[in-house]
């Protein structure tokens, strides 16, 4: 009986881990796609003192407000609000794929801020030099700002992935699948601490691995300069 339970548990843990990996992977990509342009826009339109190359206070303030509002939404509420959107796009509001949409949207404003603050760190003198050489704004963004900020951006992406692992566990609570779902359904509702412990340990391992890889890449980029 115990052996059977163990085998079943490991299968479930493996399945849930894979679901979490898929969820986190896809939502990282989509949240980057959404958040990167917003982050760049925020930085570019910020005031000149902040390093903005196309300062536009009204646009900046409106966008900044929207980002703040989205960031202050409790994630669980955002998920419920965005359920109809998942249904519209994926056809269902339950399951791993359906969770990717609220996850991406929830992480996008965070990504935007991370990108904005990374770009802000770029030496303004370097940007001035690029400008003096006759770079277009687009060239400054693509050829100067992003490459110069790359180590910080990698750290930002690492942070985003780790956040998304946490969010994805929460998504389990409303039928999103993955390790969070496993921990709640088996560990909490069926009183099986083994499941809970397993799920938590796997999540901790994932976070550690991502952090390790992110730090390595970032350090590598810095060492090359």
């Amino acid at each position: 009986m115990d052996a059977f339970l163990d085998a079943r548990m490991w299968t479930l843990v493996a399945e849930s881990t894979w679901q979490t990996v898929v969820m986190v992977f896809l939502s990282t990509i989509f949240s980057m796609i959404l958040g990167l342009p917003i982050g760049v826009l925020l930085h570019v339109t910020s005031s000149e003192e902040q390093g903005g190359i196309l300062p536009h206070p009204v646009f900046y303030n409106v966008l900044s407000r929207i980002v703040n509002i989205l960031r202050s939404f409790p994630f669980i509420i955002l998920m419920i609000v965005l359920m109809p959107l998942s249904r519209l796009i994926i056809g269902t509001s339950i399951g791993t794929m359906a969770t990717v949409i609220p996850l991406s949207i929830a992480a996008a404003p965070f990504v935007a801020r991370v990108i904005e603050s990374s770009l802000k760190e770029v030496d303004p003198g370097v940007v001035q030099a690029a400008k003096a050489m006759g770079s277009t704004n687009w060239q400054i963004i693509i050829k100067v700002l992003i490459p110069e900020a790359l180590p910080a951006l990698v750290s930002g992406v690492t942070l985003t992935i780790i956040n998304l692992i946490g969010y994805s566990a929460m998504a389990g609570a409303i039928g999103g699948g993955g390790l969070g779902d496993l921990a709640i359904r088996y560990g909490y509702q069926r009183f099986s601490p083994a499941y809970m412990v397993c799920a938590v340990v796997v999540i901790i391992l994932m976070v550690e691995i991502i952090q390790f890889i992110g730090d390595k890449i970032s350090a590598r980029l810095i060492a090359k300069r």
């Binding site: 003198g125 400008k131 006759g134 050829k143």
Partner: protein, 334 residues
Amino acid sequence: MEIKLRNLKRNYGSLHAVDNVSLDIPSNTVYGIIGRSGAGKSTLVRLISMLEAPDQGEVYYDDKRVDNLSKKELIEERRKIGMIFQTFNLFSSRNATENIAYPMEICHMDKTYIKQRTEELLALVGLEGRGSAAISTLSGGQKQRVAIARALAIKPSILFCDEATSALDPQTTRAILALIKEIQKKMNLTVVMITHQMEVVRDACDRVAVLDSGHIVEEGDVRDIFSSPKSDVTKDFLSSLTNVHESLVRWSDKGGHYTLRFRGSSTDEPIISSASAATGAIFNIRAAGVQTVNGEEMGIMITDIGPDEQTAEKTVMYLREKGVGVEESKKEAE
């Protein structure tokens, strides 16, 4: 290329950073603009180099007005000038070669041409074989060399140097200035050098404008300015350079107090002795120094001339006849 500035004004709030500046920077020269910090140098260079638009006034490159260009024209025009900075401002994400390639990349030049041109430029600035070096591994002087190569990549006709040697030690400063002068001659560049160091003006510039609180207080050939400075700011810059400074001198009670400025051949003659012999004057030399300005010897001497006022007057006349600049100093203590 010749640069003309007409009545340039730029305010920040109530601060007149640049106040009614008109200048003619002739083609094919090294032109210095010197001023203390806060004199408006940085603003002025940003106006001349099209990084900032003036509130009033005009900037001309040859006869083309460049201060009111459209965005597209502005980018076109900026691609014809080179600029180097105090902090080098190199791209840390690119190695030396890639830094030099940047201005050519943004103009979409041919890749094989870029490769060949970067090699040429590395050789020009004396960094052959260092192309693949990361920027952080280079010394300050090497960084400025890469920056110079980058600025020259698109064969500009104007090179702006914004405090380009201020972060370098004296030896490296001399080497970089020598390189800039050499390149200026080779490429017939107009070099505009913004600085707060009089030795940079002395060692590198042909002409100089002295900037003080947004105004040009003095302008002219460097040798003329060094031999007969008119404004207090200029005199101050000069005395800090030679360390011959009136405020450091303890005057005697008797006799007039004079600053003598010698120039060229007069530094070789025993003028003081001959003046003494001719008028019977007694010199009490307090401080003196000689330096080379743009290939010409320049001397400065702070001295009392006695024993009485009549003799002093006669001596001053005699010295002026001999081509020595004489200024009577005010006694500050009285």
